[in-house]
């Protein structure tokens, strides 16, 4: 497994006893898309931050490609995020004033890559994400759906081994959600990328396998779970799995 989280726990910043994550275990292999859904405040973003090495768990172990991520120095973790672990944070506002192409190639430029090569790779990534038409637009000019595809394109430019996507399809139409998930599934299948994606609702995780339910910081069995008064329906191709399943 490329990414392995074993018995991860993390207390809330403002509480000695309340947990953001409580004994969470999950694994993601290359070519796999693992989905985690849960309502706001359930710990999804913290889970991804820990998987990205941006936050440390209070207990448990995070392994990436056979090494303990939580034991690496901040410089080593930064290097991994620049070269191997790509993150898409759905809730972040776009950086104003940048063109789409600038935004997508920025990670490469900052990582000392050749400017021409960075532009070429950014254009290829935009094409792969069906966002090449907005290359010259500014980030604030494009639609939410386009922006999420642009964010995924930006993540692709580094040719990551692991892609962590935090609710990239929130606030998008079902058609746009399907587009995002199709992109990620293709990426996983063709480039053997390991994908861990979160969403507020399981229906936004079409094609992910397994789909895990995070509630109150714990991975729980979702059978019989009700949200908003409606029994949750899961995508046909998705298999529900407990964390250790």
């Amino acid at each position: 497994m490329l990414l392995s989280l074993q018995a991860i726990s993390k207390r809330r910043d403002d509480s000695a006893t309340r947990m953001t994550l409580d004994d969470v275990t999950l694994q993601v292999g290359r070519g796999q898309v693992v989905g985690v859904f849960g309502r706001s405040g359930s710990g999804k973003t913290t889970l991804l931050q820990i998987a990205a090495g941006l936050a440390a768990p209070d207990s448990g172990a995070v392994s990436y490609d056979g090494q303990r991520l939580d034991r690496l120095s901040s410089t080593e973790r930064l290097r991994l995020r620049r070269r191997e672990i790509a993150c898409v944070w759905g809730s972040r506002p776009p950086q104003r004033g940048l063109s789409v192409l600038d935004h997508v190639q920025l990670a490469l430029l900052v990582d000392h890559r050749d400017r021409r090569d960075a532009s070429r790779r950014a254009r290829e990534a935009l094409l792969a994400c069906e966002a090449e038409h907005c290359e010259r637009a500014r980030l604030e000019e494009i639609s939410d759906g386009e922006r999420q595809r642009v964010e995924i394109a930006r993540a692709l430019t580094i040719e990551p081994k692991l892609l962590l996507a935090d609710s990239p399809a929130s606030n998008l139409s079902i058609v746009e959600q399907e587009t995002i998930m199709r992109l990620l599934a293709t990426l996983a299948r063709d480039a053997k990328v390991a994908v861990l994606i979160t969403a507020g609702d399981a229906q936004a995780l079409i094609g992910a396998d397994p789909v895990l339910y995070l509630s109150g910081g714990r991975i729980v069995d979702p059978h019989g779970t009700r949200q908003g008064g409606t029994l949750h329906r899961f995508p046909g191709r998705a298999r529900l799995a407990a964390a250790d399943g």
């Binding site: 950086q95 004033g97 990670a107 430029l109 900052v110």
Partner: protein, 247 residues
Amino acid sequence: MVERDDGDARTVTATTLERPQARALLELDSVSKRYESVSETIHAVEDVDMSVRERELVALLGPSGSGKTTLLLLIAGLLRADGGSVRFEGRDLASFTKSEALAYRRTKLGFVFQDFNLSAGLSAQENVCVPLLLRGVPHGEAHGRARASLAQVGLERRLTHTPDRLSGGEKQRVAIARALVGEPKLILADEATGSLDTETGDAVLELLAALPREHGAAVVLVTHDIRATRHADRVLQMRDGRLSELQ
């Protein structure tokens, strides 16, 4: 000269807003911008004359919705005026090709936003490097200039800090360093103290006020913070899309 009594302000023509003894960097002549929806037309900016001289600090006051940000976007060439002209160093922005408009923003202007507009995954130094890297400046030179720019705003010990490890005031200093690093002629600051407490906001205002003197850049400070007027060479006010100079 036409004057209209407008309470605490006078509506005046470009003749008085301009100081003929100094060279105008930026000139707006009868600029208008309207937004149209199915049900109404909003005149966001209406018949505005304005000029900014080199090394001048102009405070632009006005309540929310008065047209301040629209005016800033027109100056930045991010919006096109429906009427009138915006000229920078004598050139009409409407005559710019798309690449010229991009070059104008990258080389002549610096931007400071209320919410800092920093890239979360990048260090302070890398954030400041961004406008240089996008202009094709080599990495070594870009990093050196970014380091110097951060030192100028007192952040030489925060080079490797990412935004989540910086205070609000420090983030705004990084944003100012980023605006400065390309040695722009004009810095556009949109509510730069809006997210800061009083003490931190005062420090940021002092920093912005020093830019004309220490870096040779003119500054347009869009704000509803009356404290900004202490530092300004001139104070303009937007109200319902119209511009006037406070006396």
